[in-house]
């Protein structure tokens, strides 16, 4: 006997959601969140309550100017650093031992010492070589703290970027070089058209981190009297003795870093869309 099922069997209902019990973890969570929110909320409330239109009118334009100097400094150093990092990365990858060792010592020197010490070395050290610098006409350059900062920052970020680039180039499989050679491309063509585009995708995330690192690191130029955002903040605090000057600077820096991070995340998503398997 054959029985034909004419009715559609109703699927079983999903089990009811487990009621989340109130336990120790949950209590800790709420306490931690409450502590965070009350701290940040308290600081925001303080900023609102302590709003002083006179203070803002006096210092907001200065902060704006400082912000422009910070961004200009970071952008200039990053561009010069990127340009210098290419030959350093090439030297690091060179089969010539001596060239490789030289590039490695450059990278180690700049990555192993604090940026602050490097800036001091350039800024105060240059003053010592004034006659020599004057004789070659470079004194005008090193007299300005902004130039000294860019000089030190560019050398520093070049070392970091060279390592990023080297790692990325080495991460491209050797077969890619061989395939390019088999197609009859010269080494330069292979590098430019096949290796570099793949390497840059690997390097994208570390590059983003380097930009943020540079932006945060740039605050130290305030110590050598450059009036960047941090410098203006320090000046405003030393004149007004109002703690909100520092809090406003924190808000601005945080906004900048988060903006860059978000832009970079989107950029990365866009540029690697061909590598994703899901839709």
């Amino acid at each position: 006997m054959t029985a034909i099922v004419n009715e559609r069997i109703q699927p079983a209902l999903p089990p009811p959601p487990v009621r989340r019990r109130w336990n120790g973890t949950r209590t800790t969570g709420w306490i931690a969140l409450a502590a965070m929110v009350s701290l940040l909320g308290g600081l925001s409330l303080y900023l609102i309550l302590a709003w002083d239109s006179e203070l803002v009118a006096k210092y907001a334009p200065k902060y704006w100017k400082g912000l422009q100097i910070t961004l200009g400094l970071v952008a200039t150093s990053l561009v010069f650093g990127a340009a210098m990092s290419l030959p350093v990365a090439m030297a690091r990858l060179s089969p010539n031992r001596a060239v490789g060792a030289l590039a490695y010592s450059y990278v180690y020197l700049f990555r192993g010492t604090p940026l602050l010490a490097q800036v001091f070395l350039v800024y105060y050290g240059a003053g010592e070589f004034r006659p020599e610098l004057q004789s070659v006409g470079l004194w005008g350059f090193f007299r300005d703290p902004w130039n000294c900062a860019v000089f030190a920052f560019a050398l520093n970020t070049a070392a970091y970027q060279a390592e990023i680039l080297r790692g990325a180039i080495q991460s491209v499989a050797k077969g890619q070089w061989e395939a390019a050679e088999a197609l009859g491309l010269t080494r330069l063509q292979a590098f430019r058209k096949i290796i570099l585009p793949q390497a840059l995708i690997v390097a994208l995330r570390p590059y983003g981190n380097e930009i943020i690192l540079m932006l945060k690191g740039s605050a130290i130029v305030a110590i050598i009297t450059v009036l960047d955002l941090m410098g203006e903040t320090r000046r405003a605090y030393s004149r007004s003795f109002d703690f909100q000057t520092y809090l406003w600077a924190a808000v601005v820096y945080l906004l900048m870093v988060e903006t860059i991070r978000n832009i970079w995340e989107r950029l990365e998503k866009h540029l690697t869309r061909h590598l994703r398997r899901d839709g």
């Binding site: 932006l215 703690f243 870093v257």
Partner: protein, 237 residues
Amino acid sequence: MDEMLALLSLSDTGWGDEIVSGVGVTISLALATLPLGLLIGFFVALAKQSEEPTLRLAGNIYTTVFRGLPELLTLFLVYFGAQIGIRQLLLAMGSETTIEINSFLAGMVALGLVFSSFSSEVFLSAFRAIPRGQYEGGYAIGLSRFQTMRLIILPQLIRIALPGLSNLWMILLKDTALVSVIGLSDIIRQTGIAARVTKEAFLFFGVACLLYLALAILSSIAIGAINHWAARGDAPR
């Protein structure tokens, strides 16, 4: 050459002894910050991988704030903020005394906050690298949550997190240079004073750079030894 050696000598006329004491301050600050930053970072990582959304949110806010602020600004916020906060507290209690914040303590707290926000990310990715079965195996043989964490998860976690943490140690060592700004007599401050007095800025800041480099090399030797120790149970390759 002889003049330079005289300037760097350990005697009363040379600056060597001052600089050596600066090296001591730098090392002790970094060593004092390390456990603080590791401990906070570990708990923040625990919060960020918790099932409880409020804990995750709190952990993420913490990381976002202290990872995004410039280290120098964090230092000033802690240094001046604590000073003002304590004064307000004392005023509220009816006391007029002003308290100077110890710059070593302020530096330790500020660098600890920064270090912990970065180390929490390292710990978090190490947590994610440990399969769930390790926890379940621990519970299955009757270990409590704490025992599972201590005896099964933590030993694996440390090995996975070591490379990331050693990077952070190198960064911490360099970040200690910032405390010279709030008046702590570390390498940078001592060499800076010497440079101002003797007008030999290039020599003394060069020495400072070399000292940091030496500390970095010593650290990588120590880290190599720790790595060797951590990998002693691995299968020989």
